[in-house]
C-alpha cells in the first residue's frame, strides 16, 4: 500500500481518481501525497503543527496551518469533492460543528474514528472499573487528547441528526476488516457521508 498505514489506505480506497480533497489534520501530507501520486487527486490540507506543514510543503502539497475547530470556516462551501477527517474527531472541542463544516465544504465527507464500543474498551471498564486503556486508545484519561470519544452507533446518530446520509461504512480491527457486529468488534470505523437529499 505504498507505505501508507492500513487505516489511511482504507480511507484512500474510498476516494476516486481525479477527485478534489481537503484533508483536515493532514499531518505531513502522507495521505494527500499518496492520493496525488496514485490517483491524480488535487488535494489541500490543514495541519496544526508547523513542522509537519513545512514537511508537507516540501512534498509539493498545499497545506494551511490551522485548527479544525476554528479554521474550517475559511473554506468555501462545496469547494471539494471529499472533506476528510482522519482520527481527530474525538479530539475536537466541538465535533458536531466540525462535522457540519465537513459536510458544508465537501460534497462528501469521510470521517474515521476509534470506536469506543469495541469489546476491549467495554471489558476494561466493566472488569477494571477504570477508564479504558487499550492498544487503540493507549493514553490514560488525564493525558489523552481524546475528549469526545464515541461508539459507531453514537456517530451514526450524530451524522443523521446533522442531516447527513451514511453512504458506506468501513470497519477495522487492527489490520483486518470486520464484517459483522462492528460496534462490538471494530476498533476503528470509517464512514462516508453525503447530504441526506442525495446531492
Amino acid at each position: 500500500m505504498n507505505g501508507l498505514p492500513f487505516r489511511l489506505a482504507a480511507v484512500a480506497d474510498l476516494i476516486p481518481r481525479g477527485a478534489t480533497v481537503l484533508d483536515v489534520g493532514c499531518s505531513d501530507g502522507r495521505l494527500l501525497r499518496h492520493l496525488r501520486d496514485a490517483k491524480g487527486v488535487d488535494g489541500r490540507g490543514i495541519e496544526l503543527d508547523p513542522a509537519r506543514v513545512s514537511a508537507a510543503l516540501a512534498h509539493g502539497l498545499s497545506v494551511v496551518q490551522g485548527d479544525a475547530d476554528s479554521d474550517l470556516a475559511d473554506f468555501p462551501s462545496r469547494s471539494v469533492d471529499y472533506a476528510i477527517l482522519s482520527e481527530t474527531l474525538q479530539a475536537m472541542r466541538a465535533p458536531a460543528r466540525v462535522l457540519d463544516e465537513l459536510l458544508r465544504i465537501g460534497r462528501r465527507a469521510i470521517v474515521s474514528f476509534p470506536n469506543f464500543g469495541h469489546w476491549r474498551v467495554r471489558l476494561d471498564l466493566l472488569l477494571g472499573g477504570r477508564m479504558p486503556v487499550t492498544p487503540g486508545l493507549p493514553e490514560p484519561w488525564f493525558e489523552t487528547e481524546n475528549i469526545h470519544l464515541c461508539t459507531i452507533r453514537d456517530f451514526r446518530a450524530l451524522a443523521r441528526a446533522r442531516g447527513a446520509a451514511i453512504l458506506s461504512e468501513t470497519w477495522l480491527a487492527g489490520t483486518r476488516r470486520v464484517r459483522v457486529h462492528p460496534n462490538m468488534r471494530a476498533d476503528h470505523a470509517i464512514l462516508l457521508l453525503g447530504s441526506a437529499d442525495g446531492r
Binding site: 489541500r44 508547523p50 513545512s54 508537507a56 510543503l57 509539493g60 494551511v64 496551518q65 479554521d71 475559511d74
Partner: protein
C-alpha cells in the same frame, strides 16, 4: 545621500505611468544578480526588499560594508542558491540606492527631484520591476519572494501578473496597511518634516541633512520591528556603561543607546525623502481596494503556488493578517500554504537566524522546481 557610487543599473526603455496618473520618465532601476539564468529561463527568482532594504541581498553592502540583508537565506548552499538559481533583486523606485528616487536628478530641471518626486504605490514599484524583467529578457519566474514590504510586492506581483511566477513566498507581511501601521509611519514622517534641516524637502540643494528627524523616524519604526519580549530579553532595564541613573537625559538605558545607534547609522545610508515616499506607498497599499474590497478577487486566476509565513511575536503584520490573505487565496481557488513560525524577535524575525524559515523555503522551492 546622493552617492556617486556606481550601482549596477539600467534605464527603462519606456516611461512609467504611475497610479497617481503622473508619469515617471524612463526611470533608472538599480539591481543586482547572482547565479546564471538557465537556458529556458526557468530558474529565475525575483526578491523584493523591505522598506529600508536594497538590492544588496547577499553580498556585502558596498557602502556600509555590512553583510547583505538576507545573507542567511541567499547564497551558496542556502535555500536560495546561486548554484541553482538566477537571483535578481532591484532597488524599488523611490529608493535611494541607485533607482530613480527623490535624490535622483529630475530630468526636467537637472536638480534633485526632492519633494517633487511623485507619490508612488506598491503597484508602481512592482510594475517598474516587471519592466526590468522585460528589459533583461526574463519571462516566467520560478518564484517571487519577499518579507514585510517585500511580501507586499510579491502579493502585488501575483495579482498584477497571475501567470508570471510559479511560486510566491510572502513573509511577515500584509495585504493592506492597518490604521496602526499608518499611524507609526505618520510619526516618522512628521519627525522628518519637523526637522529644520529638511528645508521643505529641498535639503540636498541646501547642503543639509535632516538627520535628527530621520533618526527619530527610524527609532520609532525600529520599535515596531521588535517585540516586548525580545527587548526585555536583550536589554531589560540594564544601564549603559554606568552603574547609577544620571538623573538627566543621556542614554542611561541600554535600549536607549541601542535605538540612538540604530537612528544614527540609518541616516548615513538613507535619504529622508525616500523614507517619506516609501512609507507613503506602504500606507496606500490595499490589495483589495481596486477589486471592490474583495481580496480574493485580487488573486483570481493566480496560477502560482503560494506560501505565506508569519511570526507569532510580530505585532506589526500579525498572523491574523497572513491568515486573512490565505483565506482569500483559498476562496480564489489558489494553491495556498501557510505557516506561523515561533520566534521571540517580532517582525524582524525573518531577517534573523530562522532555521525553520530556511527549511520551509528550501523545501517549498525544491518541490516547485520538481513539479
Amino acid at each position: 545621500m546622493n552617492q556617486p557610487f556606481p550601482h549596477r543599473s539600467l534605464r527603462l526603455p519606456a516611461d512609467l505611468r504611475l497610479d497617481s496618473g503622473r508619469i515617471l520618465p524612463r526611470p533608472t532601476i538599480a539591481y543586482e544578480t547572482l547565479g546564471a539564468l538557465a537556458p529556458d529561463g526557468g530558474n529565475a527568482i525575483l526578491l523584493f526588499h523591505a522598506l529600508t532594504g536594497d538590492q544588496y541581498v547577499a553580498r556585502d553592502h558596498p557602502l556600509t560594508g555590512k553583510p547583505g540583508w538576507w545573507a542567511r537565506m541567499v547564497g551558496e548552499g542556502r535555500p536560495i542558491d546561486p548554484a541553482r538559481h538566477f537571483i535578481l533583486c532591484a532597488n524599488v523606485i523611490g529608493g535611494c540606492m541607485g533607482s530613480e528616487g527623490p535624490a535622483s536628478p529630475n530630468p526636467a530641471t537637472g536638480r534633485p527631484w526632492a519633494i517633487d518626486f511623485p507619490v508612488i504605490t506598491i503597484a508602481d514599484m512592482v510594475r517598474a520591476q516587471a519592466a526590468l524583467l522585460d528589459s533583461l529578457g526574463i519571462g516566467r519566474l520560478l518564484a517571487v519572494i519577499g518579507g514585510s514590504m517585500g511580501g507586499m510586492q510579491a502579493l502585488q506581483f501575483a495579482s498584477l501578473y497571475p501567470d508570471r511566477a510559479r511560486a510566491v513566498i510572502a513573509i511577515a507581511t500584509a495585504a493592506r496597511h492597518s490604521a496602526q501601521n499608518i499611524a507609526f509611519h505618520e510619526v516618522g514622517r512628521q519627525a522628518i518634516m519637523a526637522d529644520p534641516d529638511w528645508c521643505g524637502g529641498r535639503f540636498l540643494e541646501a547642503g543639509r541633512t535632516p538627520s535628527a528627524g530621520l533618526a527619530v523616524a527610524r527609532m520609532a519604526a525600529h520599535i515596531t520591528y521588535l517585540s516586548e519580549a525580545g527587548l526585555t530579553e536583550r536589554f531589560g532595564r540594564r544601564l549603559q556603561e554606568r552603574d547609577t541613573l544620571s538623573f538627566g537625559f543621556d542614554a542611561d538605558f541600554q535600549v536607549e543607546s541601542y535605538l540612538r545607534h540604530q537612528g544614527m547609522s540609518f541616516v548615513r545610508r538613507f535619504d529622508a525623502n525616500s523614507y517619506l515616499v516609501i512609507t507613503r506607498a506602504m500606507d496606500y497599499f490595499d490589495l483589495a481596494e481596486p477589486h471592490q474590497g474583495s481580496l480574493s478577487a485580487a488573486f483570481r486566476g493566480a496560477s502560482a503556488r503560494f506560501a505565506l509565513v508569519s511570526y507569532d511575536s510580530d505585532w506589526l503584520y500579525p498572523t491574523s493578517e497572513s491568515k486573512r490573505i490565505v483565506q482569500a487565496l483559498v476562496a480564489a481557488g489558489a494553491h495556498a500554504s501557510f505557516v506561523e513560525l515561533s520566534s521571540p524577535h517580532g517582525h524582524d524575525s525573518f531577517l534573523l537566524d530562522s532555521p525553520e524559515l530556511n527549511r520551509l523555503v528550501d523545501g517549498f522551492l525544491r518541490a516547485v522546481e520538481a513539479a
